[in-house]
């Protein structure tokens, strides 16, 4: 929470920073000029970055990158090709995308996509492997349950 003398006296500050965050969430795929966002928020760039970081723990630029990486994960999970994903989420080049993605996720986009598609396939083939048996049984899905009532 912003360091303030009493509880929440400056709600308008929050509203403006939250609007800026939502702007990033909704426009990550476009070229976002952080100068414009700070202007829109009626803050100086420096003040905007400081407040944003105080609330969200990272600069607006780093936050934008994290949103793009998260969106890229969702694209890759759907099987969308890597280059297409890169541009769809707002990165400028596949090489910088791969580097940033690997740093954030620990896997290259290619490896992540392969891993997630394999998991999806496995879920479709053997869904019960992903469902605790107590739930599967309660829903009537568990055909070969080894659940025994405790005496």
């Amino acid at each position: 929470m912003l360091k303030m003398e009493t509880a929440y006296p400056k709600i308008y500050l929050y509203k403006r920073i939250v609007q800026a965050k939502l702007f990033i969430d909704n426009n990550f795929q476009d070229k976002i000029d952080l100068d414009n966002i700070s202007d829109e928020s009626h803050f100086s760039k420096f003040h905007f970055i400081r407040l944003f970081k105080e609330i969200y723990g990272k600069t607006p630029h780093k936050y934008l990158t994290s949103v793009r990486v998260q969106e890229a994960k969702e694209h890759l999970e759907k099987g969308i090709p890597i280059t297409e994903t890169c541009y769809a989420v707002g990165f400028d080049s596949p090489s910088s995308f791969t580097g940033l993605f690997k740093r954030a996720v620990g896997l290259t986009p290619k490896a992540y996509r392969t891993q997630q598609l394999q998991r999806k396939e496995e879920i479709a083939e053997k869904p019960l492997k992903f469902i605790p048996n107590c739930f599967a049984q309660a829903k009537g899905w568990s055909e070969n349950s080894n659940f025994q009532e405790v005496p």
Binding site: I11, F135, K139, W141
Partner: protein
Amino acid sequence: MITRLNHVSVYVLNQDSALDFYVNKLGCKVHTDAPMGPGMRWLTVCPSEQPDLEISLMPIEDGVMFKDGAAEQMKALVKKGTFGFGVFECDDLRATFEELKAKGVAFKKEPTKEFYAYEALFVDDSGNWFSLVEKKDG
């Protein structure tokens, strides 16, 4: 010795609507989405920074779990706001409150300083309520 909780169920009136609420409003991630035959689906989401806690969005339907009219009774209780399912944590309560409000989430209680934490209470699209607290340092 019990060490962790990895699954919890939230009973919802409509799975599709709950999915939209938990993902697009609360910012949860889909963990597992498995079709289980006509009209049935195992659907779990997790908080953005807690991928090992699966929240099962469980539709209330007649069947093995709800028999003899129990589903209708349960739906009525959920709609009435009978159930509080847990406490979500965030880094900054005021910012999270403003964001969720901007996304149309209904709150039963605005951010308030309680002796244990800053806390707000919100309601999901079915009627289940949750506490939302600001993570304490340390």
